[in-house]
Symmetry: C2
Subunit: 222 residues, 2 copies
Amino acid sequence: MRIALLGGTGDVGEGLALRWAYHSDHEVVIGSRDPEKARTKAEEYETELSSRGVDRKINGFENEMAADRARVVVLAVPAYHATDTVAAVADSLSEGDVLVTPATGMKRDENGFHYNRPGAGSVTRLVADAAPDGVSAVGAFHNLAAGRLANLDADLGIDTLLVADDDDAKETVRLLAEDIDGLRPLDAGGVANAPEIESLTPLLINVAMNNDGLHNLGVRFD
Amino acid sequence: MRIALLGGTGDVGEGLALRWAYHSDHEVVIGSRDPEKARTKAEEYETELSSRGVDRKINGFENEMAADRARVVVLAVPAYHATDTVAAVADSLSEGDVLVTPATGMKRDENGFHYNRPGAGSVTRLVADAAPDGVSAVGAFHNLAAGRLANLDADLGIDTLLVADDDDAKETVRLLAEDIDGLRPLDAGGVANAPEIESLTPLLINVAMNNDGLHNLGVRFD
């Protein structure tokens, strides 16, 4: 399956790209608003994988071209660019494609980080509303420990929570999550349940900030 | 130390009462609006502990009397009773006492449970605002797996998150959490960071509802 990682030059994009290329046979394509940056990072990922004996072709393109012919498009961009990015690639999407959003809105004050809930209810809802007809939105990969995710030597042993109103789209993403060693996908219901998932990201940062020795935190439900 | 568990006849109150009485030397007092109910449940807890070879006196009283001379008062009541309960016991509280709130506001729709954030920002903030002068509020014990907590045969292996603006009060509660085997307290900062903690409770319920074999969920940060 072709997976496009838009904003694939950032932390979460890098981690997902490396993990899928390393642990699975999916074709990974890196997207960025700047195609040159996408190509440069894609080559870095190839070099990282090659150093581990895994020779994989990873292409980098401008977002719209990266999304073309991808079955799953991950919006690994800041929350405030999520809907812009959907609009920018809408013509590249076909019926049955799946948009995946790991973004969360946050604001910071002197106490720490806080969930900045969009008026629509959640970033996942914003993406679902912006998706072209026939394209489904899945909220996933929010609470990954980005530094650990991008370090192929690190064991994950963490969960990721999935929300979607389209069960087939959710199942597609669940299988992709299972392809990553040490990542356990859990179903958290429909898009209406996204705010509580998106709220977990600032909480993880607050916990990391206030406890010595805890950083790059993920979460495990047990 | 004397710990009063107001609403100590409910699930979380029962679990905390049994665990502290079983794992520590703290004096546990059960409070309820109905003193007869408090006495009946206190006797049940004594019987449960006695069956495990632990003979402890647990008293049950009406909330105001339960709070009297307690250093730590846990508001194990529904969120909509949290401030009423503080008002009801205010005359029993002394400077330096600590109010602990594990409550969260939730609403349910056809998708699952959602955080029902109070206008003040969080239940913890409501309790902090309602506390008499010299009495501090600590948010803690929100995301315990209530059924496991009350089953002394069950290993916990989960975390609880603490928020407070008064570091001494937070440290008092951190030590009480550490007294419970298998429960790891983590500092999540000030009261302003409470909403993201309180949001975790409906998320745990949604995850339990949507995944076979997961129930009585707690959370572990790793």
